[in-house]
Amino acid sequence: MNGRASRRHLVSRAMTALIVALAFIAVLALVVILGDLVWKGASSIDWAFFTRNPVPAGQAGGGVANAIVGTVILVGLAALIGVPIGVGAGMYLAEYGGGRLGFVVRFIADVLNGTPSIVVGVVAWMFIVRPTHGFSAVAGSVALAILMIPMLARTTEEMVRLVPHSLREAALALGYPRWRTSLKIVARTALGGIVTGCLVGIARVAGETAPLLFTALGNLNFTLSVSQPMQTLSLQIYVYGTGPFEEWHRLAFASALVLMGLVLIISLTARWVTRQRYGSVR
């Protein structure tokens, strides 16, 4: 009896140790990857890296100013298109989503969340690049917006659902029409959460590369025109990382570090916004 009990405890101990070890390996992977990026990228980051445009292949020096500006423009435009539709759909799901349409939309949003981004890229190519006979930043933004919409719809819904019903009832009791209650009271209360969802969505598409390969294409020159091909940090990393030159590899790692920094800053801001609204949760 005693021996059996102690064996069971031994098994329990062993399994606990195994699970701790597995969790440790997973966390270690992250630390290693982040460490490598900083180690390989940080030394190449200087003022010129941010302010200069790429130099011809094989030459030393140059920067990624065009890619940084391109990323901001492309992602900004994508947010402009994607955020209203995504948040609107999320409001629908939270406010009127009890019926069959709500179920269908919710399910499709979840399924679309896992759609390969490359597929969205070829669809955007078919719709925008082919009719307009040219690669353009707009086409890239539309592709990114399509990726953003299902994600924003679901996070917005979750956030709006957290608003207590008593708030709506209070507003209705004061004679507010429902649409104003929904916009001014419910959406307003959930605003912090909605903004968080949007920021997380933006952070995710900021690193996307696959849907831009056939839409924004990439551009070695500096451009602000959204009807032209445009460079982004992600495309730059792909081209430089798979290219033959040492110099390119160095710039690719520096670009990767900047892109990671950008994504992390947005994600951390999102976290901070949530904290401000809801306090520390779970």
Binding site: L30, L93, E95, P116, S117, T155
Partner: protein, 332 residues
């Protein structure tokens, strides 16, 4: 950001909610508001139909020419205009399964650790770190794979592996770097956070009373997890794993950069392979003839349908445990 509270949607509508719903749509401005929101919501079903429609129509020439044998023939010859996608289909499935093999134990380890064994103060930081893994862009993983993972594999992993298991068909041939193995490992690292985040949500949805009951019966902590917690969340955990599979199937950049992009079918993980997503990424801009492009669209169609089916199955399983909530949606 899975640390936000996610409440289950109640199965039956509460009386307050139904009263609220019945009040809707009585006023004209309210009807307009509702219509506008419905319009936004309809964007999602139309999106999936448009994607499916575009892919289908664009791949019609290839569908006509090659029929279903497109999926199991391996000739891919843009000059002769003969296309068969078998190597890509094989590579996609093989790399994803390899990734699952590596990622599932790690991800479940993280999820079980965070919900069952971790000291309270450690939960937030670890969950946050794992979420960060999900935030790293695919192309950055690819870069890391080319310059750090592959040299590491070549020096420290493959030689001992070959010494011990070199006689199996899975480790034949010379290892040059870009390979199924590298693709599978990169994919595994990428899907760990997804599977972990969703599994964690599923395990958190298991009522505490389940654990308490098992512990009260004299179970050890592990026995409580194995006999009470895991069976309760089984459907959801399988859903989480299938969701990870869906991610792996469609992942493009990182895989393209390390898998070698060769139209070949082989069981050795040391050899280069190809995936459907990688083929589109590599060849779409080069595809100048209608048939070539159409063949790539058909690859996209197969990939899209595959991931939609896989994701749908995953969602249904997860919803069975955590009904109606967007479990893990923030991490995805």
């Amino acid at each position: 950001m899975t640390s936000l509270p996610i409440e289950g949607v109640p199965a039956g509508r509460s009386s307050i909610e139904s009263r609220w719903q019945s009040l809707l749509g009585t006023d004209r401005s309210d009807r307009v508001y509702r219509r506008v929101l419905t319009g936004f919501a309809l964007a999602l079903p139309s999106l999936i139909l448009v994607i499916l429609g575009v892919l289908f129509v664009s791949s019609l020439p290839a569908l006509h020419r090659f029929g279903p044998s497109f999926l199991w023939t391996s000739t891919w010859d843009p000059v002769a205009e003969v296309y068969g996608a078998a190597p890509m289909v094989f590579g996609t499935l093989a790399s994803s399964l390899l990734a699952l093999l590596i990622a599932v134990p790690l991800a479940l380890g993280v999820a079980i650790f965070l919900t069952e064994f971790s000291p309270r103060w450690l939960r937030q930081p670890v969950a946050f770190l794992v979420e960060l893994l999900a935030a790293i862009p695919s192309v950055v993983y690819g870069l890391w794979g080319i310059f750090i993972l592959i040299p590491f594999l070549r020096s420290y992993v493959v030689p001992p592996l070959k010494a011990v298991l070199g006689w199996t068909p899975f480790l034949q041939g010379v290892f040059y770097g870009n390979s199924l193995l590298a693709g599978g490992i990169i994919l595994a690292i990428m899907i760990v956070p997804y599977i972990a985040a969703v599994s964690r949500e599923v395990l958190l949805a298991v009522p505490t009373s389940q654990r308490e009951a098992a512990l009260a019966m004299g179970a050890t902590r592990w026995e409580a997890v194995r006999s009470a917690v895991l069976p309760y969340g089984r459907a959801g955990l399988i859903g989480a794993i299938i969701l990870g599979l869906g991610r792996a199937l469609g992942e493009t950049m990182a895989v393209t950069m390390v898998i070698g992009n060769r139209h070949d079918i082989g069981v050795s993980v040391l050899q280069p392979a190809y995936t459907m997503a990688a083929a589109i990424a590599n060849e779409f801009n080069e595809a100048t003839t209608t048939m070539y492009r159409s063949a790539l669209f058909e690859v996209g169609l197969v990939l899209f349908v595959l991931t939609v089916v896989v994701n749908a199955i995953a969602r249904i399983l997860i919803w069975r445990v955590a009904r109606g909530t967007a479990v893990g949606s923030r991490a995805l």
